[in-house]
């Protein structure tokens, strides 16, 4: 399938509930507010645990509802932050996706491709080397595997 042509001024900020995500959003706000033509996609990917994690379908449904609600609330806060800084409401898009994600980085990059974003912005968690060794690092993986887009890793 032919990929969509990326739009340089179309930016994806991958966010979760962490302070790192807040730093990423603040960075974009400080850098780009007041500049015309930028479109911001605030995207939260929630990796869905395997079916084994839940003892029943109702538990799974409840889990997803809570996660989505919490993510929407966080995204709304970030959206307001950008609007208050001068971004137009119509230029900000928010999305919460619960996905089966063997790799969160791959899920984020799939969204980047799908939305034809020219840049992916992500906050660095600052995990220890040990943690990266066992569990991997999403920002490192995005840095190493992203194609046709810029990657901003915010400290």
């Amino acid at each position: 399938m032919e990929s969509k042509k990326v739009q340089k001024r179309n930016i994806l900020i991958a966010v979760d509930e962490s302070e790192n995500a807040a730093r990423a959003v603040s960075y974009v706000r400080d850098l780009l507010s007041g500049l015309p033509g930028f479109r911001i996609n605030l995207v939260t990917i929630i990796p869905e645990p395997s079916e084994d994690y839940f003892q029943s379908e109702s538990e799974r449904t409840e889990w997803m509802k809570e996660k989505k609600s919490s993510a929407r609330s966080i995204l709304e806060g970030f959206r307001r932050l950008l609007i208050d800084a001068g971004f137009k409401e119509g230029d900000i898009r928010v999305e919460v996706a619960i996905k089966t994600c063997p790799s969160i980085a791959e899920c984020i990059l799939a969204e980047q491709e799908n939305l034809a974003c020219g840049a992916v912005v992500i906050g660095r968690r600052g995990i220890s080397k040990k943690e990266e060794f066992i569990f991997g690092s999403t920002s490192s993986k995005i840095l190493h595997t992203a194609k046709d887009c810029a990657v901003w890793v915010i400290e």
Binding site: D52, Q55, P102, F133, I134, F135, T138, K141
Partner: protein, 332 residues
């Protein structure tokens, strides 16, 4: 979609049970009464000499299985029963339903783990007939609990086996290790098979490999453990594989304390480059202790060092390097 045997529970009379126990264990082992169970929800009430009926078969319950974990030796696992299949006398491990979620700690890293009967049942299906995995099947009891009935793998752990091989490390390494290494590679291939199917083993450690007494074949056991992965779904499995390789290469863990207590000159030369990234007291740079270890093998071990900058992210990467090391071991 996983297929689960939901065969109707067949009723057995007390006389039938007694007759089968007499055939399987001998007439002197027959009890006057048997507690016959079809609903295993409360696994604490499933006790020694009870008979659990699953599908069309009666199983005579023996002891709870035990397992050492997190430094606590030999904890009883009340949901895991050794049993005799009264239809043919074979020894089985019956795993009853026990859901638990907990935080595990490896070194100073905390992560979320859970136990899942569904995962184990799925892997039993997936690995049916595979010589490197324990064999068994799953079915539901009368209350729809997903029970796993597993062929008991009689034998020692591979880790225990290697400890008794060779007069000393050098003898072990030159005369026994090459075949152990090939067996290890096949065990890694087996884990690759799981990963390719999107499954983790979840609890890779050396006492989860049993060397079957009858065949000499090593098998992975225990698949009900899982963890919430982060970026790399299989990273924790790979860490386990690395630890096992270090153990097999060293004929046991070589610790900093052992070297110190033995007055080894290597002790004073140790740096963070030489020790395990998570378990800092374990030496991974084994060539420093045993200089005859080929570089190609030691290169793999160093991927698990505190100073490693490149980590294995897949069994493919690990196997690539193992194949290279195998060539060097052949030429020793």
């Amino acid at each position: 979609m996983q297929e689960i045997d939901q065969a109707e529970t067949k009723p057995f009379s007390l006389d039938e049970i007694k007759e089968r126990v007499a055939t399987c264990l001998g007439p002197d082992r027959v009890q006057k009464r048997y507690n016959i169970i079809t609903d295993t929800t409360d696994f604490f009430r499933v006790e020694y000499d009870d008979v659990v009926i699953l599908g069309s078969k009666p199983y005579l319950i023996r002891n709870n299985e035990r397992e050492g974990r997190f430094g606590i030796d030999e904890q009883q696992k009340f949901w895991v029963k050794r049993a005799r299949d009264l239809s043919d006398g074979s020894v089985k491990i019956i795993k009853l339903v026990f859901h638990e979620r907990f935080q595990a700690k490896v070194g100073d890293i905390v992560f979320d783990c859970f136990r899942s009967p569904k995962k184990e049942a799925r892997i039993l299906d997936l690995t049916k007939g595979h010589s490197r995995f324990m064999q068994g099947f799953s079915l539901t009891d009368s209350s729809n609990n997903l029970i796993r009935v597993i062929d008991f793998v009689k034998g020692k752990t591979l880790a225990d086996v290697v400890m008794n091989l060779g007069r000393d490390h050098e003898d072990y390494f030159f005369n026994h290790f090459p075949s152990i290494f090939e067996e290890y590679m096949e065990l890694v291939e087996a884990i690759r098979f799981l990963h390719q199917k999107g499954e983790k083993h979840g609890d890779i450690r050396r006492d989860h490999i049993i060397k079957e007494e009858a065949t000499g074949n090593s098998r992975w056991i225990d698949f009900d453990f899982n963890y919430l992965h982060r970026e790399n779904m299989f990273g924790y499995d790979l860490f386990g594989l690395g630890n096992i390789l270090v153990y097999l290469t060293g004929r046991g863990d070589v610790t900093v304390q052992q070297l110190r207590d033995a007055g080894s000159p290597v002790f004073d030369q140790l740096t963070s480059y030489d020790t395990n990234i998570i378990f800092n007291n374990r030496v991974v740079n084994l060539k420093k202790v045993y200089p005859y270890i080929p570089d190609a093998l030691n290169f793999i071990l160093l991927h698990f060092s505190s100073e490693a900058n490149v980590f294995y992210e897949s069994t493919d990467q690990l196997l690539h390097d193992l194949h290279a090391a195998k060539e060097h071991l052949k030429n020793m």
